[in-house]
Symmetry: C2
Subunit: 266 residues, 2 copies
């Protein structure tokens, strides 16, 4: 495409701390969201409640109107939920653009162990989106989003299960569509970064081990249910597990090797 789309910097999404790690690129932010098993979705329950609340949900970025859109292009966030849950009721009753929500996710890729606790860190990838949520009412769009979300849990699972959903299933499931207003991501990689005062202290460097412990999500051996009647674990499941495990480990270990910028302090 030859262009890099970025989200506008507003007060609500501008990263102030360690801002050389921040990204506003649609592609980077959308990729972090789509790699997440769970998204944390924040909303305000109502004027009588002082606390915002958070619901863990499953979701994916995508475009129903422009199905050929790449990860770097403007996309909506589709969130899967139950018909009578509070967030769905609030979105249903919301006026104007929809229910203002925040979608966030973080993945730890490594423990960064420096000479002093102050310089300790994680290698991680995090993303935050702000937007207006409304309920998907078009049946075709809803079905498309349900397939998108199911396949994000396990590639190709939709077509390998009993589909399409029947009428009761369609009406008990609700899909929230979030029109994104802004977003930001933050990525920390590389190894440790200590301050001069500690690096020059032989008593400290002689006794404190520094480095990174990589961390990744492992998918284990599938455990069949008591009622399962398919003898062998299907190939699409085995290959999903094998490729995820290889990718996840490579990402966590590879993140350590990234060169830190000279101004990096922790």
């Amino acid at each position: 495409m030859g262009r890099t789309l970025t989200y506008p910097k507003r007060t609500s999404n501008t990263v102030n701390r360690y801002n050389h790690r921040a990204t506003y690129d649609l592609g980077a932010i959308h990729s972090i969201v789509n790699a997440s098993q769970v998204l944390h979705v924040s909303f305000n329950p109502g004027p009588e409640d002082p606390f915002p609340t958070i619901l863990p949900m499953i979701g994916q970025m995508g475009s129903f109107d422009y199905p050929s859109a790449t990860i770097e292009e403007p996309l909506e966030c589709y969130l899967h939920g139950y018909v009578s849950s509070r967030i769905m009721n609030l979105a249903r009753k919301s006026e104007g653009d929809g229910l203002p929500i925040c979608v966030a996710t973080s993945k730890v890729d490594g423990l960064v162990l420096s000479l002093t606790p102050n310089s300790h860190s994680y290698n991680y990838r995090s993303a935050v989106l702000h937007g207006y949520a409304t309920l998907v009412t078009d049946e075709q769009e809803k079905l498309w989003a349900m397939k998108l979300v199911t396949n994000s849990v396990l590639e190709d699972r939709w077509d390998h299960s009993r589909v399409p959903p029947d009428k009761a299933e369609m009406s008990s499931t609700v899909i929230l569509k979030v029109k994104i207003v802004d977003g930001s991501g933050k990525i920390r990689d590389g190894s440790v970064s200590d301050e001069r005062k500690d690096k020059d202290n032989r008593e400290v460097t002689g006794r404190v081990w520094t480095g990174v412990v990589p961390v990744w999500e492992t998918f284990g051996k599938p455990i069949p249910s008591a009622e399962n009647e398919v003898q062998e674990v299907p190939e699409y499941i085995n290959s999903f597990i094998a490729s995820k495990n290889t990718q996840n480990q490579a990402l966590a270990e590879g993140a350590v090797k990234v060169q830190l910028p000279p101004e990096e302090q922790s």
Copy 2:
């Protein structure tokens, strides 16, 4: 103690969906929080911004006033952050009880693959807390919380690094203390649970594999930094990694074996 303390059920924390999986027990909720590498913290930036926002933070439950308190007793949530971050500025300026926030965390323990997408699920543990956040001003409490948080990342790391923090480090770090108003947890375990209509359909059961793919966090081989001068990886790091990996795998695989209650539907 012979008693089980529970958080009060208020509108903001009462679980409506699959409420047999809900817990209000302090012990269960605090344990989920303390097992989390990252907490998602939600707050409202101000009246001019319609969106609540979420910040990923590191934190732990604990009691400075009653250091002998167990995980099942009333505890505060201590969150670690940078002195001039927005949430810290808001908490510093907040009046009354403090800044109303929500702390949430979720961990996926397995992909639950049922006959139909509608019955798909995760095995997971999630927790949500609501409370008022204020800045810790007492130096002793702050130091105690910094140690608590550092050791939550890697057991015993505090004493094996260069401590205590110097004056500059103490003033650049801020600890938020959240006085908890309510909380809830949700735990899904067991294997798949399909509906009768699908279980009786031989065409479906004959082709759709059902079961659970366990998922857990793996800690890899430590990668020393370029400047590390300690030849061998210390024992407290190796034993932390080994015991975490064993525990995490056992938890994810063990969750599958839990017997589901008869009313369980997905």
